[in-house]
Amino acid sequence: MASTETNASCYLIRPNYQHKFKSSLVKECIREILREHLTGLQYEPEQIPALSRTLADCIKDRLKGVELERYKLVVQVVIGEQRGEGLKMAARCFWDSDTDSYARTFHECVYDFISF
């Protein structure tokens, strides 16, 4: 009789309930990173490109540590300067709503706003 010991992930096409993407957990993770990096920071045009890249990479790396097995991750960071301009951001996703989800945070300082 052939051995039935194979990698379990080959047969799992959906995550178990415990391994699903948890928005609230991820949101907390992101908030923590924001607090670490952004307290007391002001908008400086030279530093913002590097800051946004660092934040995106930081969040992605932190999420890789959380137990999100077999999930692909997309992290988007938007940093803008507050000068009274109008701004609207919209997003739509074409995915499997049973397994896939998102977490969103908005951080506002006196001089800038940051959206994840």
Binding site: I13, Y43, P45, I48, P49, L51, S52, R53, L55, A56, D57, I59, K60, L63, K64, R70, K72, L73, V74, V75, Q76, V77, V78, I79, G80, E81, Q82, R83, G84, E85, G86, L87, K88, M89, A90, A91, R92, C93, F94, W95, D96, D100
Partner: protein
């Protein structure tokens, strides 16, 4: 046993997607000036139209489309993204269009369905 999908059907064609985005923007907004009361409607219709066209391509991809419309008044805006996926099959496309009164930023991420 035959392959379920050939390589061509599964590829992410950048030009095709770019033209879909351009058509969605022009269709939704055309050359209108920035109107705060209508921006909500604009962003929603652009993104929905884009996604509708992309799903009609009938490719085995999941899509995430984001759109930012910002009024031009000298303020700076920076977007960055970081992705944890399979570089061989997944891809992203970003586009930025500016006119006199407003700037549009698009980001489209696509992941192969497993």
């Amino acid at each position: 046993m035959e392959e379920y999908q050939t390589g061509d059907e599964v590829a992410f064609v950048v030009d095709e997607v770019n033209s879909i985005i351009k058509e969605s923007v022009e269709g939704a907004i055309g050359g209108s000036t920035y109107q705060h009361s209508r921006v909500n409607q604009w962003t929603n219709s652009i993104v929905e139209q884009c996604l509708g066209q992309l799903s009609k391509l009938d490719k085995p991809f999941k899509y995430i489309v984001t759109c930012i419309i910002m009024q031009k008044n000298g303020a700076g805006l920076q977007t960055a993204s970081s992705c944890f996926w399979d570089n061989a099959t997944d891809g992203n496309l970003t586009n930025s269009v500016a006119d006199v009164m407003k700037t549009y930023n698009f980001a489209l991420f696509s992941c192969l369905k497993m």
